[in-house]
Amino acid sequence: MTDVPGLTSENAAVFGYGLVLSRSGADISAAVRARLAEHRTYRDRAEALWPDTAPAPVGYVAADDLPQNPVEMAIRLESDCCEGWRQQIGTATSEDQRRFCVESLTGAAVSLARWRELIPGTPFEVLPGFPRD
């Protein structure tokens, strides 16, 4: 069984964006749906690229510090995806896997920046996926 933090974070994002969608108003629900579909695609492709992994959990328990605001929740999910794919590219063994890691990390970083645009004063992520200094 290999360690796949990126795939784990995609599984969590697919679940989590359902929560985001349930709390989001009409202004962002279309964007949430689009991003949910993207995460599903990434999850399926990652499962094909890393076949020797555990199946997705059947459910999740929300963390104590999970924000209630849907935009902040989406920011949290994308940030987790950045972190997961950043870690996973370090242990990837083939060029195909690393190419996919870059693609999914980029997708998460772009979405992270989009969600942050909705909240004024949030910083730009200098190195997505790395812990901030």
Binding site: C101, V102, T106, A113
Partner: protein, 202 residues
């Protein structure tokens, strides 16, 4: 029987040195008609000769291969160096704010200054990693490129966007070929450049 023996002896005597002949020291074991063959001093057998040839060839091969690879490894440039150079160039150009700009341009100057700070941090992280590995002489090569490529005009938003997209592609290509922390760093820089081009400067 005896006739045959006689003839054979005579034949051997003809081949064998009847007087002083040096031609039997050529590796062919001389046959003496009477008893033991005489000792051969400097004769080299075929097997020994081939061993010697192989050993010499091996030495020459090692010499050639080491002679060829040693300068090659010295000249290989760290693939992160190109990323660091372009990050430094971006940081230098994007922060050139125009003091007599209209309100709209001021806004774009602020955006570019934000990205310039980001790119400067990218260059710092890359330089740290390059210096850690020690395969490139980092600061010595970056300063002249920065000095020569610094223009007097701040690039437009369009130019900046295109350059960030190119940087993202270059970093992505490096990330695919590297492993471990270097792949992580290049991938993260690629993602940051894409986000800056597609969201911040969009």
């Amino acid at each position: 029987m005896s006739a045959l023996g006689q003839r054979s002896d005579a034949l051997l005597y003809r081949l064998q040195a009847s007087g002083r002949a040096s031609w039997h020291y050529v590796g062919v074991t001389p046959v003496s008609p009477h008893g033991n063959p005489p000792p051969i001093g400097t004769a080299v057998s075929r097997r020994d000769f081939s061993r010697l040839v192989l050993a010499t060839a091996g030495l020459v091969t090692v010499g050639i291969s080491s002679g060829c690879t040693t300068p090659a490894t010295e000249q290989v440039k760290d693939p992160l160096q190109a990323l660091a150079d372009s990050a430094r160039a971006d940081a230098a150009e994007f922060q050139l704010a125009d003091p007599q700009a209209s309100n709209n341009q001021n806004n774009s100057a602020t955006l570019l200054a934000t990205i310039a700070a980001v790119r400067a941090q990218h260059a710092d992280r890359l330089d740290t990693e390059i210096a850690r590995v020690g395969s490139g002489s980092g600061s010595g090569t970056t300063s002249p490129t920065t000095a020569s490529s610094t223009p007097s005009v701040r690039p437009s938003l369009n130019e900046a966007r295109n350059r960030l997209k190119e940087s993202a592609q270059a970093a992505s290509a490096v990330a695919v070929t590297q492993t471990g922390y270097r792949a992580q760093l290049a991938a993260s820089i690629s993602a940051a450049c894409s986000a800056a081009a597609e969201v911040t400067l969009a």
